[in-house]
């Protein structure tokens, strides 16, 4: 008898071990599933096997195989994509030791890498994840002519290696904040002159680097190498500008040096939509609720709707916060855009597939399609309603939150 019981216990433990080592298998049922790759599905099912989406379709056509963990909710969406944040470099405490998003020793340091500063275990990363954000474009912040690089991460993992999914861009800024952080540049015109000078130096560096005589080639310069990547189009510029004059300067610089660019912030974009559209530049728009002060004093909650109408690709970001709250939530920011002229689906796109496209990771995330990453958010109502909750979050096929928040 005793032997038999021990055998049963052993078998149970062994089978548990085998089950837990199998790839994650999750089925998410939603009264409405917004796939963002087609029309919403009523009574839909999303199957995830391992870390990828296996099937998506109406419950009538998609059978949930045995052994799948089942989550269900009123509304199911792709995991949210925050198109621009500094979380992970900037921490919750707002003390010197956890604010790594801006180096103030020099105004132009594009060579500073976000991978060398991202803290995957930062409490704010968990905060964003629990509120449905599964992909985060984060890194060096606004406030320097060139502050360093950005990265695209998943909001899971204990190290940068586990979190990283793409290399990101280089963060540039034109605006008041640069003059506040550095003795020079003190003006907008000086800022532009300094950026132009560095790009001219880079062009010269590249010329010297191409010299047939290795002796005459310059020593490797990290700053020049990064700007060279920008000039060659390997790395995009994430250009933070708010005022119309600075937006126009950014457009002019991109044209002069032929670099690829995404406009960031762009509080006064509504004044120069024709120019932005003609240049074919996408916009990662400021948080809808950003405070109207300083460079953002002319901000409007209706800009997202205006960009949509104009046909300019855009995403909505959580942005950078220097004080309280230390980060915003793209879910809430898109919600306010949805109540100010943007349709529900357009607002959802601005924090899912639209955002993924602009930050260059739409092959992996942003919509619910077979073969894409198993990143899903589950809600108990309209995701944008203040009183709805995020009730489930799945990243890379792993259920990371099942508490309604």
């Amino acid at each position: 008898m005793r032997m038999r019981r021990r055998t049963i216990v052993t078998i149970m433990i062994l089978s548990l071990l085998i089950l837990s080592s199998l790839p994650a298998q999750v089925a998410i049922k939603g009264e409405t599933v917004y796939t963002m790759s087609g029309a919403p599905i009523t009574n839909g099912v999303v199957l995830i096997k391992g870390n990828k989406i296996e099937r998506v379709g109406p419950a009538s056509q998609v059978q949930i195989p045995n052994g799948y963990k089942i989550l269900s909710g009123k509304v199911v969406t792709p995991g949210l994509v925050d198109a621009h944040s500094v979380v992970g470099l900037a921490g919750m405490l707002n003390q010197t030791h956890d604010q790594m998003q801006l180096e103030k020793s020099e105004p132009m340091q594009p060579e500073l890498r976000a991978i060398d500063a991202y803290n995957a275990r930062e409490a704010l990363v968990e905060w964003l994840r629990n509120m449905g954000v599964t992909t985060l474009h984060t890194g060096h912040g606004p406030g320097a002519l060139a502050s360093g690089t950005t990265i695209v991460v998943k909001t899971v993992g204990g190290t940068i290696n586990e979190a990283l999914i793409d290399s990101g861009m280089v963060a540039f800024t034109l605006g008041e904040s640069v003059s506040q952080n550095f003795r020079s540049p003190g003006t907008s015109a000086k800022s532009v002159a300094m950026i132009r000078t560095e790009f001219l130096k880079t062009q010269d560096y590249l010329k010297r680097k191409g010299n047939k005589d290795p002796e005459k080639r310059p020593a490797i310069d990290l700053k020049m190498e990064m700007l060279a990547r920008v000039l060659s189009g390997q790395t995009k510029v994430l250009f933070t500008t708010q005022k119309e004059t600075d937006i126009m300067s950014a457009l002019r610089l991109a044209k002069e040096f032929g670099f690829k660019m995404v406009l960031d912030g762009a509080a006064e974009a509504y004044l120069v939509m024709e120019e932005i559209k003609k240049a074919g530049i996408p916009v990662i728009l400021h948080p809808t609720m950003v405070r109207p002060g300083g460079d953002t004093r002319n901000v409007s909650m209706e800009t997202a709707a205006a960009l949509q109408k104009k046909g300019i690709p855009f995403a909505i970001q959580s942005g950078y916060e220097g004080y309280v709250p230390k980060t915003r939530l793209v879910l809430y920011e898109a919600a306010i855009a949805a109540s100010n002229g943007l349709s529900f689906q357009e607002a959802l796109a601005s924090i899912t597939i639209g955002a993924a496209r602009i930050i260059g990771v739409d092959k992996r995330v942003g919509s619910l399609e077979p073969g894409k990453d198993g990143d899903v958010a589950v809600f108990d109502g309209d995701p944008f309603e203040y009183t709805s909750h995020v009730c489930g979050v799945i990243v890379n096929g792993q259920v990371v939150s099942e508490i309604c928040r």
Binding site: Q95, N298, S300
Partner: protein, 435 residues
């Protein structure tokens, strides 16, 4: 010259419309009315006249005066104007950091009634506001309770009738790391409490001398502005509005209030969820703020949106505040909605936006609910107060329409745009920086 003429003209118009509102009754018919101190009324009618609520009830059961102007508000939601217990609109200032305690400083001496902040507040449905002197002091000065009426000077906005000797607001205090700094500021929490206790002991002494003088001018102590204001606090006539975040700092406030017997409203109260029972047992009201993420400063790392529900469960009086520019006055309703998201009841959240705040400012008899005799301050909402898709369509103050989203200029005030918040050629009206 032109501008001055324009202003005169504008004030004539406002004056005329005010007189108009005084005379003719107005009926708002067909809306869902939240009176706050009673059950919601489906298809209700609200009658206002002379700046006051005259009657309200089910449409048909309320007599509409034959000369009344009728407003069809079918499908809309009517609720009292919101009460913000802690804001920094009006471009005011307070204590000047020359020392840590400034009970003599009045913010009413420094408020710009033309600041765009007031129009932003109206766009968010705020009609009554406690404007506080800025942060960073143990005691940064006297606050001002304001009604956002058409105003040419500060006198047009005050609730009190005597701005010099009357009680026109509360007393702003703070503890925790907010008021810690280099000398003459305290360096620790215990020193903060000691400085406050020492000052209140001095005020008790002054109060005793005044009492002993028994009205005899020869025996009265020399007039001291600081002491006079603190005696009002000790007598319970002037309420202390206390910035406090951490659970231990909250307990310090309750201890000081008990020792000196002053009336206090806890403001911010980030860790209220840890000491909700103690707050309720002390009978002290709490005005909370909800933000989109914790942190940004050490004291707010443990803030929870569950503060509302925890205080409600404990039985404390709960209000809300914008702390504008920390949060935007135009989105004040959002805060109560987020409290509901975290478990607070709809009824208590609505009270928190209105009557609870009014009580915290000793204005519960004037504002905060729709009842005959109370001020005709109310909002016309496009839908449920807690829906993100709902807009404040109109804001009425004492029977005057002060905000109308249908009016292009007011619409801009609600959503923003080019030069909307520009105050003058010289100065931008950017609220913020305060806490």
């Amino acid at each position: 010259m032109h501008q001055r003429r324009l202003w005169t003209f504008l004030f004539l118009i406002i004056g005329t419309s005010l007189a108009f509102a005084q005379e003719v009754p107005q009926a708002f018919r067909g809306a869902t009315v939240y009176p706050i101190d009673g059950e919601p009324i489906q298809d209700g009618t609200l009658i206002v006249q002379g700046g006051k609520v005259v009657a309200l009830g089910k449409t048909g059961s309320v007599a509409v005066p034959s000369n009344a102007v009728i407003h069809d508000v079918k499908g809309k939601v009517l609720m009292p104007g919101l009460v913000d217990t802690h804001s920094h609109i009006g471009d005011g200032s307070g204590g000047d950091r020359s020392n840590a305690l400034h009970p003599d400083v009045r913010i009413l001496d420094a408020i710009d009634v033309r600041s765009k902040g007031f129009r932003k507040a109206l766009a968010g449905g705020i009609t009554t506001v406690n404007v506080m002197p800025g942060s960073g002091h143990l005691m940064s000065g006297q606050t001002a309770y304001l009604k956002i009426r058409p105003a040419n000077t500060i006198y047009d906005m005050l609730f009190c009738s005597d701005p010099v000797n009357g009680i026109c607001g509360g007393m702003k205090m703070a503890n925790g790391t907010n008021s810690i700094g280099e000398k003459p500021f305290p360096g620790t929490r215990a020193k903060s409490a000691a400085l406050v206790r020492q000052l209140f002991l001095k005020a008790q002494d002054y109060q005793a001398k005044v009492k002993a003088a028994a009205g005899n001018p020869d025996k009265m102590p020399k007039r001291e502005l600081e002491m006079e204001a603190l005696v009002q606090v000790l007598e319970g006539k002037r309420v202390v509005h206390h910035h406090t975040h951490r659970h231990d700092d909250i307990m310090t406030v309750l201890r000081l209030a008990k020792e000196f017997g002053f009336r206090v409203v806890l403001q911010h109260v980030s860790e209220a969820w840890k000491v909700a029972k103690e707050i309720a047992e002390a009978g002290v009201p709490a005005s909370i703020i909800l933000i989109d993420s914790p942190g940004g400063k050490l004291e707010a790392t443990d803030i929870r949106n569950e503060n509302g529900v925890e205080l409600e469960k404990a039985g404390a009086l709960v209000g809300f505040h914008t702390d504008d520019g920390i949060t935007d006055s135009r989105l004040f309703l959002r805060m109560a909605a987020l409290a509901v998201r975290a478990g607070m009841s709809r009824a208590k959240a609505l009270e928190g936006m209105t009557i609870a705040g009014a009580k915290m400012l000793d204005l519960g008899n004037r504002v905060g609910s729709l009842a005959p005799g109370k001020d005709a301050d109310f909002l016309v909402l496009s839908g449920d107060p807690f829906s993100v898709y709902t807009h404040v369509e109109q804001t009425w103050v004492e029977g005057n329409k002060m905000f109308d989203r249908g009016n292009p200029e007011d619409h801009e005030m609600a959503v923003g745009g080019y030069d909307v918040f520009r105050r003058s050629l010289y100065l931008d009206a950017c609220e913020g920086g305060a806490e």
